[in-house]
C-alpha cells in the first residue's frame, strides 16, 4: 500500500527515456523555458488527475470531471459578466458550484448505492448539458481583468507560470489527505476491503462521499485556471480531459481496483503524458501520434504489471478483484525512487545545458548567412486537422512549399479545441520557428500567445479566421464574415425570390466563426429581406450523419421550409442527402462547403449553390505570404504581394485579400477539384 511499486520505477524510466528521446529529436525541448511551459500545460489536467487519485484508490471512478470544468467555467462567466460579481466572488461561487456537483455524485453513489461508473456517465452528460444549455453553447465570456488572467498567462519572476503554485498546492493537499491523514488511511482500507473497513469502524460511505465532493471542487479550480490560461470561458472547457486524467492516474500506478496508488505516481504519470505531447510537438511529429503513443504506453505498462501479478498468486475471490496490488518480493522505499528520479533529472539538466548551448551556437551560425538564402521554418495551423476544408487548404500549402523549397510544419488539434491551439503555438515558440500562421478558433484565447510569439521575434500571420489585430502581423482574408454571411443570404433570397422560410444547420453551436456568419445573416435579413424568415438553427457537431438526421427531422417539424442552409463543410452534403432521400424536391439546399463534397448533389440538382473560396489558393497564399514576411519582402505599408502563380495579391493595410466568396453552381463546379 504505502511503498511505491515497480510501476513507479518503470514510469520514472519511461520519463527518462522521453526526456532523452525528445532532447535529441525536439528542438529546445530540454530548456528551462520549455520545462515551465510543460508545467503550465499540465496544471489543468493535473488538478483533475489529483482529484481522481483518491477516488480510484477507493475503487471508484469519476467520469464527470471534464464536464464539471465546463459547467464551472460557464458559471464563472455568467456570474462575472451578466451579474457583475467581482472576480473573487465569482470564483468562490464557482467553487461552490463544483462542490454541489460533486455532492450530487456523492449522494447518488453513497445513498442510492449505484455504481460510480454509471452515475458519473450520467453526470458527465448532465453537467456538460447544463453548461451548454445555460449558454446556448455559443455564448463565451472573455475580456477578464488582467489581474485574473495573470494567473493563467503571466510569469512570476519572468519564468514561472503562476498556476504551477496552484498545482503544487493541490498536490500537497492531496498528498497530505491521501498519504498523511487518517482519512487517507481509511480510503486505502476501503479500496482494499470495504467490508473489512466497515468492521474496523470506518464510516465507509462518508469517506467515499468526501472524495467525490472534493473532486467536484477541484474540477472547478481547474476550470478557473483554464479560463485564466486561455482567456475565455466556454461550455466546452475541459472536453475530453477526463480520459487523459484517468490515463495519468492509472499510468502512475494506481490500481483501477483500488487500494493502492500514490500522488507521486499520479504526478509521474501526468508528466509522462504531458511531456510526450510536448516532446512530439517540438519534434514536429503529428499530434495523432501522441494519442496513439499514450494509449500504447498505458497498455504496455499495465500489461506488464498484470503479467507480473498473473505469475504469482492465483485469484481467490470471485468477482471484484483478482489482481493482488502489492509487491512483496521487492520492498522499494520511497527514498530510492526519489534518488533515482533525482539522478535522472540531474542527468537531463546536464544534457539540456549542453544541448541548449549547442542549439544556440547553431542558430548563431545560421544567423550569419544571408537572409534570402535562409531556409525559412514556417508553422501552419488549421482550426481542426480532421476537417476536410482544412485538409484541402493543406494541398495548397504543400504546393507552395514545393515551389519555394520549404518544409512547413502542419499541425493543430484534431477537432476544434482553442486550448490545444495555444499549446501547439507555445511549442512552436519554444522551437523558435520563423513564422507562425494560424487559423484561429478563438480570438481572445489565441491572441495572448501570439503576442508572445511576436515579442519573441517570430512573425505571425492569421488566415481564415483572425486574432486580435495587435497579435499578428497580417491577416490573410479570404472573405470577411460579413461577406460570407451576406453572400449566403443573398443566394438564399435569389433562389426563393426574396420570400419564404429556411433553416440553418451549423457545425457546433459553440463555433465562433459560424456564429459570426449567423450574425451577419440575420443582419442582412433584417436589412434587405423582410419576407425571408430564418426559422431555426440546429447543430450537427461537424458530423455529416448528424446533419442528415437533423435535416430529416427539420423538414417534418417544419414542413413549410423552403431551403436548408448548411454552414459547415459536412452539413451541406448531410442535409442534401436527407433532402434527396425524402424526395422533397421543393426544398433547396445551399451552404458553405467544399465543392468536392457537394458535387454529386449539385449535379443532381439537390444542392443549388455552394459558397466558398478556393481553399487551395488560400493555403498556397499562406505559405507565400509567410515566406515573404520572413524574408522581409512583405512589410507594413505594402499594397501588393507577389504570390507565385496567384500573381499580384492585394494588400490592404494589414489584410491580405484573397478575394470575395465564390459561388459554385452546376455550371462551374466541375472546374474545381478540392
Amino acid at each position: 500500500m504505502l511503498a511505491p511499486r515497480r510501476t513507479e520505477i518503470a514510469l520514472a524510466v519511461i520519463l527518462a527515456l522521453e526526456v532523452a528521446l525528445f532532447g535529441v529529436l525536439g528542438q529546445n525541448f530540454l530548456t528551462g523555458a520549455n520545462a515551465f511551459e510543460i508545467v503550465r500545460l499540465a496544471v489543468e489536467l493535473g488538478l483533475l488527475a489529483l482529484a481522481l487519485t483518491p477516488i480510484i484508490v477507493t475503487g471508484g471512478i469519476d467520469l464527470s470531471v471534464g464536464s464539471m470544468m465546463g459547467l464551472a467555467a460557464v458559471t464563472f462567466g455568467i456570474l462575472w459578466r451578466d451579474h457583475h460579481f467581482p472576480i473573487a466572488a465569482a470564483a468562490v461561487c464557482t467553487l461552490l458550484v463544483g462542490l454541489a456537483g460533486g455532492a450530487l455524485n456523492a449522494v447518488v453513489i453513497t445513498r442510492f448505492r449505484i455504481a460510480p461508473l454509471i452515475v458519473t456517465i450520467a453526470t458527465y452528460s448532465l453537467f456538460r448539458g447544463l453548461a451548454e444549455g445555460l449558454t446556448g453553447a455559443l455564448d463565451t465570456f472573455s475580456n477578464f481583468p488582467q489581474g485574473f488572467l495573470f494567473f493563467g498567462q503571466g510569469y512570476l519572476w519572468g519564468v514561472i507560470p503562476p498556476q504551477l503554485f496552484i498545482l503544487l498546492i493541490a498536490a500537497v493537499f492531496y498528498w497530505l489527505l491521501l498519504e498523511r491523514t487518517i482519512i487517507g488511511r481509511a480510503l486505502y482500507a476501503i479500496g482494499l476491503s470495504p467490508e473489512g473497513a466497515r468492521y474496523a469502524g470506518i464510516p465507509v460511505q462518508r469517506r467515499i462521499a468526501l472524495v467525490y465532493v472534493l473532486s467536484g471542487m477541484w474540477s472547478a479550480v481547474a476550470a478557473l485556471v483554464y479560463v485564466a490560461h486561455i482567456g475565455q470561458a466556454k461550455s466546452d472547457a475541459g472536453n475530453g480531459y477526463e480520459l487523459l486524467a484517468i490515463t495519468a492516474v492509472v499510468l502512475g500506478g494506481t490500481s483501477i481496483f483500488g487500494g493502492s496508488g500514490t500522488i507521486l505516481g499520479t504526478l509521474l504519470g501526468l508528466f509522462a503524458i504531458v511531456m510526450l505531447q510536448n516532446g512530439l510537438r517540438l519534434a514536429a511529429l503529428p499530434v495523432e501520434l501522441s494519442g496513439i503513443l499514450t494509449g500504447a504506453v498505458l497498455l504496455i505498462t499495465i500489461g506488464l504489471d498484470s503479467l507480473r501479478h498473473l505469475g504469482r498468486a492465483k485469484p481467490q475471490s470471485a468477482k471484484p478483484r483478482t489482481a493482488d496490488s502489492t509487491d512483496e518480493s521487492i520492498d522499494v522505499k520511497n527514498s530510492q525512487v526519489a534518488v533515482l528520479s533525482a539522478v535522472i533529472l540531474a542527468g537531463s539538466l546536464i544534457v539540456a545545458g549542453s544541448n541548449w548551448w549547442l542549439v544556440r551556437s547553431l542558430r548563431d551560425v545560421h544567423a550569419t548567412s544571408t537572409p534570402s538564402h535562409r531556409a525559412v521554418q514556417i508553422a501552419v495551423m488549421p482550426k481542426a486537422k480532421g476537417d476536410p476544408y482544412f485538409a484541402s487548404c493543406k494541398r495548397g500549402v504543400d504546393d507552395a512549399a514545393r515551389e519555394l523549397g520549404l518544409d512547413p510544419i502542419w499541425d493543430g488539434p484534431a477537432d476544434l479545441d482553442p486550448a490545444k491551439q495555444n499549446e501547439v503555438v507555445e511549442g512552436w515558440i519554444t522551437r523558435h520557428v520563423d513564422v507562425i500562421a494560424v487559423s484561429v478558433s478563438n480570438q481572445a484565447a489565441i491572441s495572448t500567445v501570439l503576442r508572445k510569439a511576436l515579442a519573441d521575434g517570430i512573425h505571425v500571420l492569421t488566415w481564415d479566421a483572425d486574432a486580435q489585430p495587435d497579435a499578428r502581423d497580417f491577416f490573410i482574408n479570404q472573405a470577411t464574415p460579413q461577406g460570407i454571411g451576406y453572400t449566403l443570404t443573398d443566394e438564399a433570397a435569389r433562389l426563393l425570390n426574396n420570400r419564404g422560410e429556411f433553416a440553418i444547420i451549423t457545425g457546433a453551436l459553440s463555433a465562433a466563426n459560424q456564429n459570426e456568419w449567423i450574425k451577419y445573416i440575420r443582419e442582412r435579413l433584417a436589412a434587405k429581406y423582410p419576407d425571408l424568415k430564418l426559422v431555426t438553427i440546429r447543430p450537427c457537431d461537424d458530423d455529416r450523419d448528424r446533419a442528415f438526421a437533423e435535416t430529416q427531422t427539420l423538414i417534418k417539424v417544419h414542413p413549410e421550409l423552403n431551403l436548408i442552409m448548411g454552414i459547415a463543410a459536412p452539413a451541406v452534403p448531410g442535409a442534401a442527402e436527407a433532402i434527396k432521400q425524402s424526395g422533397r424536391k421543393d426544398v433547396k439546399v445551399i451552404g458553405l462547403s467544399l465543392p468536392n463534397l457537394c458535387k454529386p448533389y449539385v449535379h443532381d440538382g439537390v444542392v443549388q449553390a455552394v459558397v466558398l473560396w478556393n481553399t487551395h489558393d488560400l493555403g498556397y497564399l499562406v505559405v507565400y505570404a509567410a515566406d515573404a514576411l520572413a524574408n522581409g519582402k512583405l512589410k507594413r505599408g505594402d499594397t501588393s504581394l507577389e504570390a507565385g502563380k496567384l500573381g499580384k495579391i492585394e494588400v490592404r493595410g494589414d489584410n491580405i485579400i484573397l478575394g470575395a466568396p465564390f459561388v459554385f453552381t452546376k455550371q462551374n463546379i466541375d472546374r474545381f477539384d478540392f
Binding site: 491523514t181 476491503s193 467490508e195 473489512g196 468492521y199 474496523a200 493502492s260 493482488d324
Partner: protein, 462 residues
C-alpha cells in the same frame, strides 16, 4: 457427526476433490480414487451440498439446476420447458414449493439450499454428502428431505449426512461416525447408540491444554441486553449480562445465531427491538463507530475478510480501529505507528521480522493476534471475541488465552464466542448457550461440563 471444527468440512472437501489429502486414500467400489478433482469427483457421482449455497444469484432456479448437470452441444437449442420440468420434478421430490422461474437471489437461504439439493439429485449423485442440510428447514421440509434420502438409500445410493441434530440422526441414519479433532473416534450402528454416549464421544478428550484461568475480581455489570432482537439476522429475545473482569462464553452450534448476536451488539446489523445497556445506561448502537465510542470492540470470526486488511502492514492494521485516538492531530505519524507496531508485536508475540510486514505474510495465529491487537489498542471496556482461536496453532492459542486472562484481570468484560468446548469450559466464568437465535441457557463454570453444554446446544426446538 462432531462438534464445530472436528474436521467434517475438511473431510467433505477431500471427498469432492476440492482439497488434496496429505496421506491416506479414498476407495470407491473397491477402486482407489487417484488424483481427485471437482470434475473427477462429480464424474464419479460424488456430490456435496454445503452450508453456504453456491448458486448463480441472477439466474433462475431451473437454470441453476440445469447448469449443474447439462453438457449440451455448443449451439444446440436449450429446451427451457425441459429444464423447468426437470427442476419441477426434482423440487417436488424434496417437497420444495419453489417456482423454477424464480431468480436464485430472491430466494431465502433455506430455499436456496433446497435448490442445491435438487441440483445434486439431478446430477445423479450416487454418493451425496449433506453438510448440515437442515439448519434452516422447517419440520415439514425436513420430513420431505428424509423421504428423499430414504428413497436414495433404497436405490443403493450412499448418503453421508453431517449434522449435530441428534434426533435427526436417530431418525435417518443407519450408522454414525463421530469425528473429533480431525480423527474418527468411533463408528457404530445407530441402533447401538444413545444420546449420552454420542455426546461423550464428541466431547470427551483429555483437556491437556492448560487454560490458565485464574479467578479475576468480578465487578459490576458492563454490558446487558434485554429482549434484544434483530429482524434482519434472526436473533430474538436475547437476555444476558456480562460483568467487568468476567469472561462470558457463548456456545452453540453453527447457525444458532452467535455471530449474529455479536454483529448486532457491534452495530454492524443494528437491533430492531429490545435494549442494550452499557454500564447500566441504555444506548443506541446503529453503527460500529457508536459501539467503539461506547467502549466495545469486536474481533470478528472471518479473520481474512473482516478481521484484518491483508494487504496492509501490521502496524497499519493495528491502528485502523482507533485512528482518531492514535493520531490525535488527524495526521499520520509514521514514527508513532512504528513504535506502536513494535510494542504490540512484542506484547502479543507476533512472529514477524518487522511490524512493517504485510499481514498476508503471517500465519493464521499471528494474523489473529494482529486482529486482536487492533482492538486492544482502542482500550475497550467490553471485548467481543468471535472464535478467537479458530485456525490457530497450539502455541498461539495459549498465548491468546493468556492474553484474555490478563485483560479480564484489568477489568475488561469479555464475551467469547467459541465452538471449542474445552476452550469454553476452560476460559469462561459463565457460559451462555445459544440455539435458534436466542440464549436458551446459562451455566456457571462450576456446573459446566462438555456434556451439559452440548446437551443444551443440541436439543431440538419442538
Amino acid at each position: 457427526m462432531g462438534e464445530n471444527g472436528a474436521g467434517k468440512s475438511t473431510l467433505i472437501k477431500v471427498l469432492t476433490g476440492a482439497v488434496t489429502p496429505d496421506e491416506g486414500s479414498i476407495e470407491l467400489d473397491g477402486h482407489a480414487v487417484v488424483h481427485n478433482s471437482p470434475a473427477h469427483a462429480k464424474a464419479l457421482g460424488i456430490a456435496a451440498i454445503y452450508q453456504q449455497p453456491a448458486l448463480f444469484p441472477d439466474l433462475s432456479v431451473a437454470e441453476n439446476i440445469a447448469l449443474g448437470l447439462e453438457k449440451p452441444g455448443l449451439f444446440r437449442r436449450i429446451d427451457w420447458n425441459e429444464r423447468r420440468r426437470r427442476a419441477r420434478t426434482l423440487l417436488d421430490s424434496i417437497g420444495a414449493a419453489i417456482d423454477p422461474d424464480a431468480t436464485a437471489s430472491s430466494l431465502s437461504m433455506p430455499e436456496q439450499q433446497l435448490v442445491e439439493i435438487a441440483r445434486a439429485l439431478g446430477a445423479r449423485a450416487h454418493y451425496l454428502v449433506l453438510d448440515e442440510p437442515t439448519a434452516s428447514l422447517t419440520t415439514r421440509e425436513v420430513d420431505k428431505l428424509f423421504d428423499v434420502i430414504r428413497r436414495l438409500r433404497s436405490q443403493q445410493a450412499g448418503v453421508i449426512y453431517i449434522s449435530h441434530r441428534l434426533e435427526e440422526l436417530f431418525e435417518i441414519a443407519d450408522r454414525v461416525t463421530v469425528l473429533r479433532d480431525g480423527a474418527v473416534i468411533e463408528t457404530r450402528s445407530m441402533a447401538d447408540a444413545d444420546r449420552a454416549t454420542l455426546i461423550r464421544s464428541m466431547a470427551g478428550r483429555e483437556i491437556s491444554q492448560i487454560f490458565p484461568k485464574s479467578p479475576a475480581p468480578i465487578g459490576e455489570i458492563a454490558l446487558e441486553t434485554r429482549g434484544l432482537s434483530c429482524a434482519h439476522n434472526g436473533i430474538h429475545d436475547v437476555n444476558f449480562t456480562v460483568r467487568c473482569g468476567e469472561i462470558l462464553g457463548i456456545a452453540g452450534m453453527v447457525g444458532s445465531g452467535r455471530t449474529e448476536l455479536a454483529e448486532t451488539l457491534f452495530g454492524l446489523n443494528p437491533a430492531t427491538g429490545g435494549e442494550i445497556l452499557v454500564r447500566g445506561k441504555p444506548v443506541r448502537i446503529s453503527r460500529p463507530a457508536d459501539a467503539i465510542t461506547l467502549g466495545l470492540a469486536y474481533v470478528p470470526e472471518d479473520r481474512r475478510r473482516h478481521g484484518v486488511i491483508l494487504d496492509f502492514p501490521i502496524a497499519a492494521n493495528l491502528t485502523l480501529a482507533d485512528l482518531r485516538g492514535v493520531f490525535a492531530s488527524g495526521f499520520l505519524n509514521r514514527a508513532r505507528e512504528r513504535s506502536l507496531g513494535r510494542e504490540y508485536v512484542d506484547k502479543l508475540g507476533v512472529k514477524t521480522p518487522s511490524a512493517a510486514a504485510l499481514v498476508s505474510t503471517l500465519s493464521g495465529g499471528n494474523q489473529q493476534k494482529v486482529a486482536l491487537g487492533r482492538w486492544l489498542l482502542t482500550k475497550p471496556s467490553i471485548l467481543i471475541l468471535d472464535e478467537p482461536t479458530q485456525g490457530v496453532d497450539i502455541g498461539a492459542k495459549s498465548e491468546i488465552h493468556r492474553l484474555m486472562v490478563e485483560l479480564a484481570l484489568q477489568g475488561i468484560a469479555i464475551v467469547m464466542i467459541s465452538s471449542e468446548l474445552p476452550e469454553i469450559l476452560g476460559m469462561s466464568d459463565r457460559i451462555g448457550v445459544m440455539r435458534g437465535g436466542t440464549i436458551v441457557g446459562t451455566i456457571h463454570r462450576a456446573d459446566a461440563t462438555q456434556e451439559t453444554v452440548l446437551g443444551i446446544a443440541l436439543e431440538t426446538a419442538s
